[in-house]
Symmetry: C2
Subunit: 375 residues, 2 copies
């Protein structure tokens, strides 16, 4: 369900709205005061975003009559772990006066902040409410919707977590238009993912508007976000706990997660990893005859037009083991979508359609990685 | 819903059975193999229980064709914290081959193990299934049913956690008949709690059978467990996430938790703390005219017949600050049931009935603590 500038995530009693428009951060206080029975908000953010936006967000909340605290942790994916979770959780629970079940957690930041703050909300006092203010395109179109929260473990990414839906998502497009291009590209990989698995017209939109989007023009950016949130909303509404349809959103992620792990945290952005993973998946799909080679080539060229990597040569600083099938294989097996030791892949069946395949042979994966090494 | 030796916990798609009979541990393998689509079981236990029972439980699971690992952490409430959670979680996720969503966690132990193993199951891969084999009376009649999982934080008990229902609970009464009397008493305090808030006839049963129960006679013990699980099942079915009715189970716990915290971990057993908390709550209820003084006296005398403490004089080694109203008050405020800074109490309205009261004055609490100090 969508209206101008907002989309409803339909999950019965856990439904919530995603608002997309400029200047929303300054409206957070009035939103909370109007919608929820809470007098207290705890902002969870990271050091980078917190330095920029904690003050104005606090002002908005305080002006609306709320008691506000802020907790910031060091920025970076390498801090999305159990150690940071412990520190943030003990700080939250040690606040005076103590938080209670009507306290609202306010997640302010990108995907790492949303995942960690959401998991803290899911597990403090066995679950308190949270709202999310994503500050990156990636968080806006992906992590902010759907209620997946989590942490990385030593053995792999996002292996610790819970499903916990936010009560409200406020996407302030003003914050996104000032993002550096590398940050934007991170989110654009997920937009291409949504297009390939569900909406071929979105792929055309991205291809056509690539320069405007990369220049962070407000109009195209807002339309892009709304279209992507709508796709994610439909998928999540149909399959909240990732039992079937939602698995499609792992398109590009089987290899993508393995590349990120092999590269070491910080060696590769999530968008770069997913871009490479999507090229590999399209290659396998084309080799199987599931999708036309011209369609696979189109996905690849859209990614290139967004300046996302489509071959290992585009990533000259990548660790050598991250290019190696033998090194990547055991990491793919550790992905939490693995069932009974087999590696599962989402493969496109043309543009705008995809499915889960459990019968992908190791030889097909090896050839796809070879393709990324050669092309 | 109850049949001979088993009770259904009715929670729609999350329903499960609690079986109560001798020798169930050796039947765990066949149960799992028959009921669930899993080939892999990870036993989570503590050092004490693990030394006694990991081997026979592993044998049962392996004989049924399951791949089995066991993870043990140091026994004791002081280890039910985020640090232990991190260690257990990283060990679980680091297993080779990696666990997947069809892996079954098997909780083997008392309340601490059940809470921690349940929370690990709730948050590994965003939730995997678990079954529970409680090895103490307290765990059997209380923690094993209802899906509350959690950890203690520096600021207080059970402040971190999630709701995550087990798929099956197997209460092997053979394990319980060998428990030391102090362990049994721990569980008996919760049985008295159930009786006072829901079932006056259970209070009579406990009063009558106290010597047989304390001697761990199999017949009375099994009946006691089944009656208590039935009460807990009815309450949990009506109110899974503790929004109303389930709060009654906090009878005796507002002061009880504060006493445990003030005494320091290990200074006081949970049953002792709850026993004192129930005496205090009955005192407040009698002073308000909610319950007859003779009924308050009956609760107190049943607790005494079970050799549970009903006055501070029964706890000569208790830290002095745990007897002091001024020291206890801020800890009660930190209890997670606190809302907007007020301390809420469950008070009996006679025998077999109770309600949540939000208007209990500090003076009433002070007098109840004075009563525990004087009587």
């Amino acid at each position: 369900m969508a209206e101008a500038g907002k989309i409803k995530i339909d999950l019965g009693p856990r439904s919530y709205w995603v608002h997309v428009r400029p200047g929303l951060m300054a409206r957070t206080g009035p939103f909370l005061a109007e919608m929820f029975n809470t007098r207290r908000a705890i902002i969870i953010t990271d050091s980078t975003v917190g330095a920029l936006y904690t003050r104005p967000l606090q002002d908005s909340l305080r002006t609306a009559g709320l008691n506000v605290h802020a907790i910031a942790f060091p920025a970076g994916e390498e801090h999305k772990n159990l150690a940071t979770y412990n520190v943030v959780m003990e700080r939250l629970l040690g606040l005076n006066p103590p938080i209670d079940r009507r306290t609202m957690i306010v997640s302010l930041g990108g995907g790492v902040v949303g995942d960690l703050a959401g998991f803290v909300a899911a597990t403090a006092l066995r679950g308190v409410d949270f709202i999310s203010l994503p500050t990156t395109l990636l968080a806006a179109v992906d992590a902010s919707v759907g209620g997946k929260t989590g942490l990385d473990a030593q053995a792999g990414k996002n292996l610790v977590g819970a499903f916990h839906q936010p009560r409200l998502v406020l996407i302030d497009t003003t914050l996104l238009t000032t993002l550096p291009a590398a940050q934007l590209r991170n989110g654009l990989a997920e937009c291409v993912k949504h297009a390939v698995v569900r909406d071929a017209t979105l792929l055309n939109f991205i291809a056509e508007k690539a320069p405007a989007i990369l220049a962070a023009q407000p109009g195209p950016l807002a339309e892009l976000i709304l279209r992507n949130v709508a796709i994610k909303a439909a998928i999540v509404s149909a399959d909240e706990h990732e039992k079937s349809l939602r698995a499609l959103l792992n398109f590009g992620h089987t290899l993508g997660h393995a590349l990120e792990t092999a590269a070491g945290y910080g060696g590769l952005s999530h968008g770069q990893a997913v871009s490479m993973g999507m090229v590999a998946a399209c290659h396998i799909a084309a080799a199987r005859g599931l999708m036309h080679a011209t369609h696979a080539a189109k996905v690849r060229s859209v990614l290139e037009s967004l300046k996302l990597p489509v071959r290992f040569a585009d990533l000259p600083t990548l660790d050598a083991k991250a290019r190696d099938f033998q090194a990547l294989l055991p990491i793919m097996g550790r992905d939490k979508k693995a069932a009974r030791g087999t590696v599962r892949w989402i493969l496109p069946k043309g543009l705008g359609d995809a499915a889960l395949f459990e019968d992908v042979k190791l030889e097909e994966v090896r050839k796809a990685i070879e393709y990324l090494n050669l092309s």
